[in-house]
């Protein structure tokens, strides 16, 4: 594609750009910092678009690889590369950062340069996770993300932020420590940290199950899967708007990505053995969490729960494949579910991210999250309402929006596994509509309830721009998902091959 070390640039440019923002925050005006961060994030976005457009969609092998010795004596390398699974997620990270920088114009007033620096750091680390092909490097970036995220909640968060920040940190850290142990174990077997080398290792079933659960805790906490989800609503409600957008759009994807990069190809037999366990947990997330979302009185918490419920489709799609193949004996039919999971990961970022951003617009003016305090917003903010209803419709999974595509694919494929899986998964059609539109009704419709609402200003300027960008992505993916599907098809095929071979000792 190019001789440029594109991935390194995407990782280190934002991290380096964060340095002057941190150092010069006293001498820099807020707007200077914003323009600077915007410039950096736009450069990253431009490079990601370049990468997306020039990506070779005919091969499953790693592209844009960079390989340098890091700590050679321990077998650690600075090894980067992307395939069809990680590349769209990297492009998504660059897009999300642009949105967050744009949002900083109206939604952040305190410590602006440091805020922007935090999120640039985060972008670098996230791209690092998605592009690392060395397990230690992966782990390095994986943990590095915790720092900016912890800071963003702890510094720019709301009332109960220290509880949420610590809960978030301990929870995710707890999960990843076990992952470190597993990575070290794999290293002892493979003689290095190269992730692709792990794909050839053979283990006994009980060993595989141990490894599976080591990874499982790390990824299940991030996704989050039931019952490891309770940190997320707290983190979301206390986080600043940008933090919530990053949480929904990127952080949760790390878990899904982990399942695809580690669990499925490294311990395929354990995945096979535990398929139903994972499917049931996923269905639990879809149904139970949707029910929990229904009784929320805090608007941001409601969006957070809905976000978890939708992530249930990602894990469902990932772990349906073995059951589908048992029933059909045909690899082709498993594509639908795994690709559905992948699409859901991307589309969830736009849908949930947009909802959190939109909530930020109202929160900035009203300083309350309580649904009861709103009511009749549609009268005072018609343009904002139009955008929000589009985002809500994507959340509801309306065809023609991105939210439909992934869920539709996973639901369709689940029938091959079991009709009851389809039944429970498809119940999100009703439950999702119920909690989303009931919230829309209470927040936007009806008469204007109080003076605070009637004093609201409609969305404008740079926020409108963010909304337009998000809406465009939501509709593009809904109307023409092939633009995304074609990118990861060869990789998914390869992944299916890997995860369907038995690698028992």
């Amino acid at each position: 594609m190019t001789r440029l070390p594109l991935l390194s640039i995407l990782i280190w440019l934002p991290i380096l750009a964060a340095v002057p923002l941190f150092l010069m925050h006293k001498r820099m005006k807020d707007n200077e910092a914003r323009w600077f961060a915007l410039l950096v994030s736009l450069v990253c976005l431009g490079l990601s678009v370049f990468m997306y457009v020039n990506f070779d969609t005919t091969t499953a092998s790693m592209q844009l690889t960079e390989y340098l010795p890091w700590v050679p004596s321990l077998g650690m390398h600075y090894y980067l590369g992307v395939d069809g699974i990680s590349m769209p997620l990297i492009a998504l990270s660059a897009f999300t950062t642009v949105i967050i920088v744009l949002a900083s114009w109206t939604m952040v007033t305190e410590k602006v340069p440091q805020y922007l620096a935090t999120f640039l750091l985060m972008q670098g680390a996230v791209v690092g996770v998605f592009s690392a092909l060395d397990a230690m490097l992966f782990y390095f970036f994986w943990e590095a993300i915790l720092i900016p995220m912890y800071l963003s909640i702890g510094v720019w968060g709301m009332g109960n932020r220290s509880y949420a920040a610590i809960k978030f940190f301990l929870y995710t850290f707890f999960g990843s420590v076990l992952m470190l142990a597993v990575i070290l174990y794999l290293h002892s077997k493979a003689g290095g940290f190269n992730i692709p080398d792990f794909y050839t290792l053979h283990f006994s079933l009980s060993e595989q199950i141990w490894i599976f659960f080591g990874f499982f805790l790390a990824f299940a906490v991030k996704v989050p899967m039931w019952p490891f989800h309770t940190w997320l609503p707290d983190a979301h409600t206390e986080a600043p708007t940008g933090g919530s957008v990053i949480l929904a759009a990127l952080m949760l994807k790390l878990g899904g990505y982990g399942f695809l990069r580690f669990s499925l190809p490294i311990v395929p037999d354990a995945c096979h053995y535990l398929s139903w366990f994972m499917i049931i947990l996923s269905l639990f997330a879809i149904v139970y969490i949707a029910l929990v979302a229904l009784s929320q009185t805090d608007m941001k918490k409601l969006i957070a729960y809905s976000s978890i419920a939708h992530m249930g489709f990602v894990t469902l799609g990932c772990f349906l494949i073995n059951v589908i193949i048992i029933h059909t004996g045909n690899v082709e039919s498993a594509h639908l579910s795994l690709e559905g999971a992948m699409v859901q990961m991307i589309s969830h970022a736009f849908g949930s991210g947009a909802m959190f951003l939109a909530f930020g617009v109202v929160y900035m003016q009203m300083k309350t999250r309580n649904i009861k305090d709103f009511g009749g917003i549609a009268t005072v903010m018609p343009i904002f309402t139009a955008f929000f209803i589009l985002f809500a419709m994507s959340n509801v999974g309306l065809p023609g929006t991105s939210g439909f595509v992934g869920e539709f694919m996973v639901i369709l494929s689940s029938f091959k596994a079991n009709i009851w899986a389809t039944f429970f998964a498809a119940s999100s059609l009703v439950l999702g509509a119920a909690y989303t539109l009931w919230m829309v009704k209470r927040v936007f419709f009806g008469p204007v309830t109080n003076d605070a609402v009637s004093a609201l200003r409609d969305v404008r300027g740079v926020d409108t721009l963010s909304f337009v960008l998000l809406s465009a992505m939501i509709i593009l993916l809904g109307v023409y998902p092939q633009v995304l599907l074609r990118v990861f098809q060869p990789t998914i095929s390869h992944l299916l091959d890997l995860s369907l071979q038995s690698r028992l000792l």
Partner: protein
């Protein structure tokens, strides 16, 4: 022009109109908004006519892939369109009624602040409905299916500051979603069994499933029956079949033109259309067809009964819509698709006419909808009275109005059907014609006859509507009178019916030959109407309502007092609304239990924070060991040495 150009023009013109009026809603003038949407809708209407001409008169059909939506594994999801006889008939009526309602809205919505938005929604609806009709696979069908649901939601909640409108729109969306839930399960089952969502392939391959079964609750069911019933659940939601009809009365909170367009003429008939479209699959499952017929016929009778105790003029028309949809669905169940679709067309005209007529009454009465506060309006609003009368006569199936032909065809078809459910359905439909006549003329008499029950203040302002509103009424009144007589022969008996081979009826269940034997020309049918049962049921219905409202209102009151139970059961809608309330309430309780008990108490405070607390407590306990006194440590060491020595000794 090619088929493709025509079809795309027809589909995209309303979308463009909607974009102009919607995106420019704050910039452009009202005139521009309505002329651009109406102009582009006119383009769509002409395209629809040209398409219909090719299909119906030149016998060509067309289907093509427009673009590939997505490919996954060996499944390719396409956006592909189909224009055949069934589509051709439907697109004509949809664009026609939509055009009439657009024009009517210029007058009806003139004072509304959301004028441009209203036109944008209506055109968007037309686009979605056309997509539903043009679909050549289940993906596009589902897109249109959900998109019309969305626009219906937006339009019911058009006056969103009214709490009733906000509630009505939410209810409509959710109940429809329950239907869509079944629909999506059906689509999944089809994909699982056939590996394709394309109509032609599905219909071609469906026969191969006739011996396949699916295991549910430990029993084996024929998979085709399961699929048909699941698809039918979708139709029940959209077409307001019992018990998923509960959303339709609430939808009357939307502006009246919308009730005419969406909740009478077009969207609610999508279920009827869909069952007809799926006729090749339904033909393989007579069990499913029996269910369709029973549900349809039950709705035709019992949902009509609800109109007996309703006093809101719009809601009476809404109940009548549910009842008529029941007729159409029963026709689908009897595999009399021609009759079902014919009634759909006639109904679209006369029901839109009735709604728009009711709208004119409402405007004249300054947004009063309660019939108890009307009466004697016939003298003040002669024009509106005339069209309302035409609509009612057509609805009640008085010859030679259009509704007579279509409804008679349905009742005859059901009578001739060999399915076991047909005798039950026949009696339901027959009694239904009495019911229809009764409530229709009850509304007519209460509104336009009887003594005026409004104040002089209202009387002073009574006025006939402007011409922009009367013209569309005329547009709809003409077909309500003559279309039946004009088209019936052509529709049913020329070349095997107008739907030709776009619907499939298995050998031994074809009703057209038998109907054809009984049919001796249009005028013979009209003149021999007095020999048929439905005619007398309808007439007695009219007579009964005359007695009830005009002649002996006191008897009616006394009857009401005598049988309060009957009235309260009808007012409660047979308790189906309460059932839904109960389910909603139960879900909310369960939700609160999950949140407060499982999530907050068990997982969060028990497991998560609990772990934190336990670690702290353990640490406090262990801290005690570290006392700082030397003799404690020496003591521990000595004990350790002794234990070690014993261990060595034992080994």
């Amino acid at each position: 022009m090619t088929f493709k150009v025509l079809a795309l023009t027809m589909l995209l013109a309303p979308l463009l109109g909607s974009a102009i009026a919607g995106l420019g809603c704050r910039i452009i003038s009202k005139r521009l908004a309505h002329w651009s949407t109406i102009g582009l809708l006119g383009v769509a209407f002409v395209s629809a006519l040209l398409l219909a001409d090719r299909v119906l008169f030149q016998g060509q059909t067309w289907h093509a892939v427009i673009y590939t939506w997505g490919v996954s594994g060996n499944i390719s999801f396409n956006v592909s369109f189909l224009v055949d006889h069934l589509t051709a008939v439907m697109i004509c009526i949809v664009t026609f009624v939509s055009l009439a309602v657009h024009i009517y809205s210029i007058g009806y919505m003139a004072e509304d602040s959301g004028y441009n938005r209203f036109f944008a929604y209506m055109s968007l609806f037309t686009f979605a409905m056309l997509a539903l009709l043009l679909a050549n696979n289940f993906l596009v069908l589902f897109f249109g299916w959900e998109a019309v649901g969305l626009v219906s939601y937006l339009l019911i909640g058009f006056w969103f500051t009214k709490p009733a409108a906000a509630t009505g729109s939410l209810k409509a969306f959710l109940v429809n979603r329950v239907g869509d839930f079944g629909f999506l399960l059906g689509i999944s089952a089809l994909l699982d069994n056939l590996g394709t969502l394309n109509y032609q392939s599905v219909f071609a391959k469906a026969g191969s499933l006739s011996h396949t079964t699916i295991s549910l609750f430990g029993h084996h069911f024929p998979v085709l029956t399961v699929i048909c019933l699941l698809l039918f659940v979708g139709a029940m939601g959209k077409s307001a079949q019992i018990p998923l009809h509960v959303w339709l009365p609430g939808s009357m909170e939307g502006p009246t033109p919308i009730s005419a367009l969406i909740h009478a003429a077009t969207m609610v008939t999508a279920g009827i259309y869909m069952v007809a479209r799926m006729s090749p699959i339904f033909a393989l499952s007579l069990d499913a067809l029996n269910v369709v017929m029973i549900v349809g016929a039950t709705g035709a009778l019992f949902l009509g009964l609800l109109a007996f105790v309703e006093n809101d003029i719009k809601r009476v028309v809404a109940f009548s819509t549910m009842s008529q949809l029941g007729y159409m669905m029963a026709a689908d169940g009897a595999m009399a698709y021609n009759a079902g679709i014919f009634h759909l067309l006639m109904h679209a005209c006369f029901k839109a006419l009735l709604f728009l007529g009711a709208g004119s009454v409402i405007v004249a009465m300054h947004h009063e909808q309660d019939m108890r506060k009307m009466g004697g309006l016939g003298r003040h609003l002669p024009w509106t009275y005339a069209v309302f009368l035409i609509g009612s006569l057509s609805l009640v199936a008085i010859p030679p109005f259009s509704g007579f032909f279509s409804k008679d065809m349905i009742i005859d078809s059901v009578r001739l059907s060999h399915l076991p459910a047909s005798s039950y359905a026949y009696w339901c439909l027959l009694l239904g014609s009495f019911v229809t006549a009764f409530y229709s003329f009850r509304a007519l008499f209460m509104t336009f006859h009887s003594k005026p029950r409004f104040s002089d203040e209202v009387k002073k302002h009574l006025h006939e509507t402007p011409w922009s509103m009367r013209f569309p009424l005329l547009l709809l009144a003409v077909p309500s009178v003559i279309a039946g007589a004009w088209a019936v022969e052509w529709f049913f008996f020329k070349n095997g019916g107008i739907l030709a081979n776009s619907v499939v009826v298995p050998e031994g269940h074809r009703l057209l030959p038998a109907l054809s034997e009984e049919f001796h020309g249009v005028w013979a049918m009209v003149l021999s109407a007095w020999k048929t049962r439905p005619f007398w049921f309808a007439l007695s219905g009219i007579a009964a309502s005359w007695l009830h409202v005009i002649a002996f209102p006191s008897v009616a009151t006394r009857l009401e007092e005598r049988f309060p139970r009957v009235k309260s059961v009808l007012e409660a809608g047979f308790g189906i609304d309460a059932l839904f309330e109960w389910i909603t309430h139960g879900t909310k309780c369960m939700s609160r239990f999950f949140y407060e008990v499982t999530d907050l108490a068990l997982i969060d405070s028990g497991m998560v924070d609990g772990t934190g607390r336990r670690v702290t407590r353990l640490a406090l306990l262990i801290r005690r060991c570290q006392t700082g006194y030397l003799y404690h440590y020496v003591f521990a060491m000595v004990v350790g040495v002794i234990v070690f020595a014993i261990w060595l000794f034992v080994n």
